[in-house]
């Protein structure tokens, strides 16, 4: 049994407990609100046993192909950009937030020049703004500048 399988088994066991507790909390009879959560608790429990007491423990599990250090940095930067963008765009608005987000991403992914990144950021932001905000009237966040 690999470490990943063991972790999966533990996660499933926790989910089983969560489902059973929630199912019992809202139980209002057979086929009621708590019925499916209880069923799911049993399913998760059975699956977790499958992982934790798996026959594959005698077999060598292939190693998980985690990224290299350099790739971790790249993935970390992109993930952080996504999180920051989602956090900040309500405050700084769609136009500014998206332009900065795209410039950062295109530079991180392609190591392109600042000028190229700036043009790409402005064009792509403008294009999506016209389609989604102006044409489809999507309520993008405007931010403190009101744009």
């Amino acid at each position: 049994m690999s470490v990943a399988d063991r972790i999966l088994g533990i996660i499933l066991l926790l989910l089983a407990l969560v489902c059973l507790v929630e199912g019992i909390r809202v139980w209002d009879g057979m086929g009621g609100t708590g019925f499916m959560p209880v069923i799911m608790g049993v399913v998760f429990g059975t699956l977790s046993l499958g992982f934790l007491v798996s026959r594959s423990q005698n077999r060598e599990s292939p190693p998980i192909p985690w990224p290299t250090k350099g790739n971790w940095q790249k993935i970390g930067f992109i993930s952080l950009s996504l999180v920051l963008y989602t956090l900040l765009v309500p405050w700084i608005g769609y136009l500014i937030g998206t332009t900065l987000f795209l410039i950062g991403l295109v530079r991180a992914m392609g190591r392109v020049r600042w000028g190229y990144g700036l043009i790409f950021g402005l064009v792509a932001t403008g294009f999506t703004y016209i389609i989604f905000k102006i044409w489809l009237n999507m309520p993008f966040p405007v931010g403190f500048l009101g744009v």
Binding site: A4, L8, L12, L15, V18, C19, E22, V26, D28, G29, M30, G31, G32, T33, F35, M36, P37, M40, V43, F44, L47, G50, F51, S54, I64, P65, W66, P67, N71, K74, I75, I78, S79, L82, V83, Y85, T86, P90, T98, F101, L102, L105, V106, M109, G110, R111, V112, F120, A124, T128, I131, F132, L136, N137, M138, P139, F140
Partner: protein, 505 residues
């Protein structure tokens, strides 16, 4: 022959310049709605509904209907090119369509999607033309116990979507079921798994989940692999070979049957039906090992099924006034705006209108084929766009797509969470497709189970005594047993199912 005469009459109406123009506008807008990840047919029709108010009813409904079936054509484009399903019904198309694009076969994938959509869509309309009233009556006989059986049958697909580890496939499906249960229970009004969070009360939207699992996770994978572009060598042929077209004929016909007949049933969404069509195709195919790796039938089947579903959906809408999908419910409100009440009386009182709409659907499908095939070359070139451009654009469209679901940031966070989860699941070889399948099916299962139990005063007897329910349940059990048997007993079939000769030893 009365139906045929009425249809000819309908064509004479549908072929007027005004009606042709609005069928064309609807087809173009529908394709656009399908391509854009932030907008689906339901919201597309809802947004454009007020704009049709200046039109007479016939061109208005022709246009709105064209948006609906046009979206099914467009939904496959982004699924094939960048692994973002434009519509829920295109989730399955990503499995083989995106793989084809990565092999430089985006052109044939897009073309077969358009051709299969056309064939199945048109055959579905033939069914709608000649069998709408009797089929609608049959559909009405299907109650909650039959739905329960049908969902169990559909859930048996999990086995064949599980890849190499059945346990991991089931774990993925179970997690999808868990996510589907989050939120307020509409029957009792009780909250489940919401942890006191008001955002979770409305539940987790599956569009945000799909965007995360497919689009965001794929970008993270491509960053890791330092992909220069989705496909960098010169593109191979843009059209499928005649042999491939011939091989897809069966897939298109089967997809038509599955899509049309299940599409008639209210509540059977194109998303769920495309999974069933894909699984059926995989089961009957001689090249099972190619599914998931770029099998052209793996694109033809779900794309055909979702178009046949749209045609099937018009059967209960026009014949009974029952909209089987949310998009058709919005279309029904379009009928209401004009004082038209779909149902048996509509065929009697407004035959010119009904038959003009039906005839326009034949024309619209031809228009969509003509619109989509020449665009194949243009779209296919997108796979060569450098990934440092494509990646940020996919992430931006993912953000917009998730935000547009309910215009809030909770869905964006959901998409991000499932993006990271999808990436990790890929690392530990847990398939994501079973999760999506159960996310779609579990709410249907729960609702059907509850209604069935309340029909029999809390007893599950109805689930095992109604003939059609029993047939579905037995078919589901048999399909599961066959798949399990194939996995663990017969090396040759196992080899096909798993697509790995080493595993079969």
């Amino acid at each position: 022959m009365a139906t045929f005469d009425l249809l000819v009459n309908g064509f004479s109406q549908a072929l007027t310049p005004t009606n042709l123009l609005f069928a064309l506008i609807g087809s173009i807008l529908g394709t656009l709605v399908g391509v854009l990840p932030g907008i689906g047919p339901t919201s597309g029709i809802a947004i454009l509904l007020p704009l049709t108010s200046f039109l007479p009813p016939t061109p208005a409904i022709i246009m709105l209907a064209a948006i609906y079936y046009g979206a099914m054509y467009g939904g496959s484009t982004t699924a094939i090119l960048v692994n973002i399903p434009g519509e829920l019904s295109s989730v399955v198309t990503t499995l083989d369509g995106y793989q084809m694009a990565r092999q430089g076969r985006a052109g044939p994938a897009l073309a077969i999607a358009a051709i299969s959509s056309f064939v199945a869509g048109t055959m579905g309309i033939i069914g709608l033309t000649f069998f709408a009233p009797p089929l609608a009556e049959v559909a009405l006989q299907i109650g909650p116990p039959e739905y329960f059986g049908l969902v169990i049958l559909a859930l048996s697909v999990v086995v064949s979507l599980s890849g190499k580890s059945l346990l991991k496939g089931f774990a993925s499906a179970a997690f999808g079921a868990f996510v589907a249960l989050i939120g307020i229970d509409l029957t009792s009004g009780q909250k489940r798994f919401t942890l006191g969070n008001t955002e979770l009360v409305g539940g987790v939207d599956f569009i945000a989940v799909i965007i995360g699992l497919f689009a965001i996770a794929e970008v993270l994978r491509n960053i890791e692999e330092a992909t220069p572009s989705i496909y960098s060598a010169p593109l191979k042929s843009l059209m499928p070979k005649l042999k491939e077209l011939w091989e897809c004929t069966g897939a298109m016909l089967r997809a038509t049957g599955v899509g049309f007949f299940l599409g008639i049933l209210p509540g059977c969404t194109p998303g769920a039906i495309s999974f069933i069509a894909y699984d059926l195709e995989k089961r009957v195919s001689k090249n099972k090992d190619q599914f998931g790796k770029g099998a052209i039938q793996g694109v033809a089947a779900p794309e055909g099924a979702n178009n046949a579903t749209t045609s099937g959906g018009f059967v209960p809408l026009l014949a009974l006034g029952i909209p089987p999908t949310p998009a058709l419910a919005v279309l029904l409100s379009g009928f209401m705006i004009y004082g038209l009440q779909p149902g048996p009386l509509l065929f009697e009182k407004q035959p010119q209108f009904v038959w003009a709409v039906i005839a326009s659907m034949y024309i619209g499908n031809v228009m969509l084929l003509i619109l989509n095939l020449p665009l194949v070359g243009l779209w296919a070139k997108m796979v060569a766009v450098p990934y440092y451009i494509m990646g940020p654009m996919i992430l931006l469209f993912s953000f917009i797509g998730a935000f547009s679901v309910r215009n809030n940031f909770f869905d964006v966070w959901t998409a991000l969470f499932f993006g990271f989860l999808g990436y990790l699941m890929d690392k530990v070889k847990v398939p994501t497709t079973p999760m999506v399948l159960s996310l779609i099916l579990i709410p249907m299962l729960e609702s059907a189970l509850r209604q069935s139990l309340s029909m029999a005063a809390g007893s599950p007897v109805l689930l095992f005594t109604r003939p059609l329910t029993l047939i579905f349940l037995i078919a589901g059990v048999l399909m599961t047993i066959f798949s399990l048997y194939a996995r663990y007993r017969k090396p040759k079939i196992k080899e096909h199912l798993l697509g790995d000769k080493e595993e079969a030893k």
